[in-house]
Amino acid sequence: MKLLKLTATNFMPYKGTMSLSFPTSPEQNVMLVYGDNMRGKTSLLNALRWAFYGKALGRHSRELPLQDLINKEATLEGDWSMETCITFEDGGHSYEYRRRATKHALVSKPSRPEDFEISRGLLRDGIAINGYLIDAEISRFAPEQTSRFFLFDGELLQEYESLLIDGNEQGRKIKESIEQALGVPTLIKGREDAQTLLKSAQKQQTRDLEKISGMERQVDRQRVLQSEIETFERDIDDQEKQLKITKADRALLDDFIEATEQIHAAKVRLTANQENLFTNTQTQKDLEIQRLGLMRDAWKDFIRPQITLKRDHLTEENNKLAEAMIRKANIAGQIEQLKKSLDSAICHACGQALHQSQRELAGAELGRLEAMHLGIAVDEAARNRISAEIRDLDRLLKPGPTSQIKFCDKEISKLKVEQTKLDNEIERLHDQIKGQDTAEIARKRALRDGLIKIEGATEQSIRATKAKLDKNNKDLQMIAKALQGIPTARAAKSTQIMNVAGELERIYGRSIDRLRDDLKTRVEQFASDAFKALSTQAKYSGLRINNNYGLAILDERGHEVTIRSAGAEQIVALSLIDGLARAGRAAGPIVMDTPFGRLDPGHRANILKYLPTTTNQLILFVHEGEVARSHDLSQISSRIDSIYEIKEVSTRHSKIEKVRI
């Protein structure tokens, strides 16, 4: 197929009519459309998609509602119509495919796709094709199922990484698209048709056998198995439909959750900060109460110096009294000894008899000591009073509350600083989530988690029912084999049809595995060739394909490179696209939107040099940062047919202009 011209009216940012003429020369087969972000490059890809398939895709390949496709300025002026027209050639025929959407006359302001009337028309060599044949005609050369390989959104390149992960939903979808492009579904449908025919013949055989005596047991058994198979198939079908709905619902919730991730994170932080603030204020209150309690005893610290002084004085007095008491007791002891010596006339120290002179001396000493004893006055009551006073003062002098009050003040001060920070953060977070329904976000997150569980349970149930179905089918095959030995049964037409359908089913079943193996080998080879041409890293030896068509990079020793950069991922994805294109279909146009986002100049140069050689038309929607006109185009200048620029008229209106090369 060769694209000739695209015309669009009021499509997305393109108010009024715009048109693009595609390159037709095999030598000059490259066209570039330059446009800054948000100007309408992806809208051009969507214009082609809408022209061919009546749909435009947004983020995550979600279909955009029709009312959002019509130029906003035009609708403000009351014009609720849009149209695309694509002209192209294929197989020696020329085609003109026109699609138009206009709001229904009775609708004042459309708000849903149903508010529009859609008409379309396909001319082949100037002759109109019947409406019901249009899809079949388009599918002959541009089937929608494989469109992602020629209407290529570079921003979705990273999706191809998911092919490397087993069980990944996105990867499964891409694998299906790949197999569509490579013809596997043709064989799958062949096997399904053979299976349907086989089942129908089995039922007919059961009816035929009813007429033959002695076959009652087989007939009953067949009937039970067939009935169960029908039930199992219905169950599987219902559950798969339900699973599809659940997955679609979950995908929408995933999008919503991703979009509100920051709000949710802010809400979680807000809740945590509010809890921290509560704890903070509570701790402050506790510390204030503790401080008040401490303040009750704080006066003691003010009179501490005076009390200390008083205590010292009392201690001194007490000591003096104690010394006097000890001295008086000692003297009393000496008096006692001397009195004993004088009474017995024997020295109490040496035990010798005292002479008269010695007795006189002892008498004089006794008199002196008795005088001294009388001279020492000991006030026992005063001493008790002083001791009691000292004990009272000691109680007042216990460690004071001042240090604890200081500790409380310091903690309260720290908490106040923290409180201010929390207040500010809470205010900022409140501003961030202002106007957002955080309860709704929380509800949808919980709902998403619930749907994931339902998905798992449904998948498990489908697996279990499929196992039962397989068993019943095997049992039916056993009966069919046994019937082959009975001439009357063998002769029945239904048995003959069963034999043909059964063999056809086996052939198609085997061919699917064979084709997949062949395709993987071919895609791996073609993609490896492309990768070697595109990669600037000489030590990479090629790519290895897995069951999902995911590609791993191989180093010079044939080992898988486990860590790949974003740029390397992009090169691998482009190699896969090229490998698929060459393995599964004849050369056609490739339209790429923003394909060079993460690539360095070396890789950009390789791609710009390589792609024009593997496709008959290469149409690139790029921005100046991806492909610089001043130097990136020099090496493919001879290949370039035309360059266009998207220019902003207003935020809701862009126009497209051809520029001189």
Partner: protein, 67 residues
């Protein structure tokens, strides 16, 4: 963009699979069944290809009886 590939990989795989399973069905019959699937590969209504296949099998059995 056309899926009309000079080298029809799916048909090649189908014929090779017939050899693998030692099929007794003639190659012409297998090719005819494949042509039906190719013709209707992007048709959502699978009853059309099914009807064509039924007819093909009927014709095949009728030919066998005639012989």
């Amino acid at each position: 963009m056309s899926t009309e590939n000079d080298q029809d990989l799916a048909l090649t795989a189908l014929l090779a699979a017939a050899t693998d399973v030692e099929a007794v069905l003639p190659v012409s019959f297998i090719k005819a069944s494949y042509a039906i699937q190719r013709r209707h590969q992007f048709n959502q209504d699978q009853t059309i290809s099914m009807h064509d296949l039924e007819k093909l099998v009927e014709d095949h059995l009728a030919q066998g009886e005639a012989k």
